[in-house]
Amino acid sequence: MNWTLTLWRLASFAVAAGLIALWQLIANLKLASPVFLPGPDRAWAALMRGFSNGTLLEKTIGTLEHMFYGWLVASVVGIALGAMIGSSRAMRSYVAPSLEFLRPLPVSAIIPVAIALFGLTQGMALFVIAFGAIWPMLLATVHGFGAVEPRLYEVARSLHMSRLAVIFKIALPSASPDIISGMRLSLTVSLILAVVCEILAGLDGLGHWVLLSARAFRSPDLFAGVILLGAIGYVTALAMSLVEQRLLRWRTSGH
């Protein structure tokens, strides 16, 4: 079984390597102008250069900060609000229509509003990222809280558990699979919005770096930025699924 798994891993690496080789080939054959399309060799060199003089590291940290703070605010507010709405049937029916109106609203439409309110500031970025990232979490939490096994509430009643104990010992853990998958979706949204905000507001980060590089025709730098953004998305998603595996161990351990 492990053997086939290794084989699949190797195959997936081979695909990635093949794509990079194809990219190099296209660059070498000059099918696209080298001004716009550097080969992976030049992109890699730009990446190394950026890290050795510290600029890229700084930009990466900038983007990670925007993404993380926005995501954190969205998580705390989303889960708290979701718990409140989800744990009461009345609240659910009052609030659900408003949520359904706000949820499909494109976050890009909120950005001008946020700029008008906060100016081109970090606060604006925080607001936009948190606003965009809150939905998957909020809706997942509402759903998770609504789907708690009623029998468990009866167990809680027969034990005379306090309201707070019911939330923390029964509802929250029961909703945790939903909440965690919402948090993972939100993570991706946060990265996208972090980049958008940096581009629009000129905030220090990879988004801004990518924009400036493109404007100055420094295509290797542009690609280095894009590669880093991809890596951030990949690594954060990986970290999240490790956390998920750890927290939801009870779910997979069947026989």
């Binding site: 167990v155 009643r157 853990p173």
Partner: protein
């Protein structure tokens, strides 16, 4: 504890006080009368079994006793006090053990839930958990999650959690209904020996007539549509009961015949 034992030994006291009392209880749910004019007294330490055809309101009666439902008219009382809400000293063993356990907590964690709520200091919990798990025959499964346990083990775990509440009464809703025959018989004997130690009052709902006779001091049969008491039998079989000799006892066979005829007549 001593007072209960005393009452058991003195018939005069036993006559006076009942632990769980239904008095002219009627329950309507969704415009339908589910239980009609049921009066029932359960003495402290008594093991009462409720049987009846499906849909006769057995489970509903149990939920009334638990305080999970409130009667439309009449009243349910426990130790003389009206039962307005579930009580911590009345534990409920649900039939669907898979839904009544916390899947994200281990066996030890599930028992701990009850200990946490009764406010036992953290330092005392591990010893109590070990003791309870040992009592229900799960001493080596403390670290397992419910999903890793068989149905019989999960039901034992639920019973352990109920015992952690230190209940005066145990309400059991077809607790072994979903288990295979062998597991079932094993658990019947374990429940009897557990109760021998704890002296709790029991209401045990089952659709298995033999199980009711085997376990109970008394068997009440309900008639359906709406649910009302149709038969109330005292079970005078010697204790401790034994899976072979008790079930071969002529009195056992006579009672089985009587209940069987009752069910047959109630379904007609």
């Amino acid at each position: 504890m001593t007072s209960i034992a005393l009452r058991k030994d003195t018939p005069s006291a036993q006559l006076e006080k009942s632990q769980i009392a239904f008095s002219h209880v009627t329950l309507d749910l969704g415009g339908k009368t589910i239980i009609e004019n049921v009066s029932l007294d359960v003495k402290p330490g008594e093991f009462l079994c409720i049987i009846g055809a499906s849909g006769c309101g057995k489970t509903t009666a149990l939920r009334l006793a638990a305080g999970l439902y409130q009667p439309t008219s009449g009243n349910v009382s426990f130790d003389g006090e009206p039962m307005r809400a579930p009580r911590r000293d009345v534990a409920i063993v649900f039939q669907d053990y898979g839904k009544a356990l916390l899947p994200w907590r281990t066996a030890a964690g599930n028992v701990a839930l009850a200990l946490e709520t009764i406010g036992m200091p953290k330092a005392q919990r591990p010893a109590r958990i070990d003791e309870l798990l040992k009592k229900v025959g799960l001493p080596h499964h403390a670290a397992k999650y419910p999903a890793e346990m068989s149905g019989g083990m999960q039901q034992r775990l639920q019973i352990a959690r109920c015992l952690a509440q230190e209940p005066k009464a145990l309400l059991m809703d077809e607790p072994f209904g979903a288990l295979d025959a062998m597991t079932r018989q094993g658990l019947q004997d374990e429940v009897l020996s557990l109760l021998d130690a704890s002296k709790a009052t029991v209401i045990f709902v089952t659709h298995d007539l033999e199980e009711a006779i085997y376990l109970g001091d008394r068997v009440v049969g309900l008639l359906p549509h709406p649910g009302r008491i149709g038969i109330d039998l005292k079970i005078n079989l010697p204790r401790p009961r034994d899976q072979l000799t008790t079930r071969e006892n002529p009195e056992f066979l006579r009672l089985r015949r009587e209940l069987f005829d009752f069910i047959k007549a109630s379904e007609a």
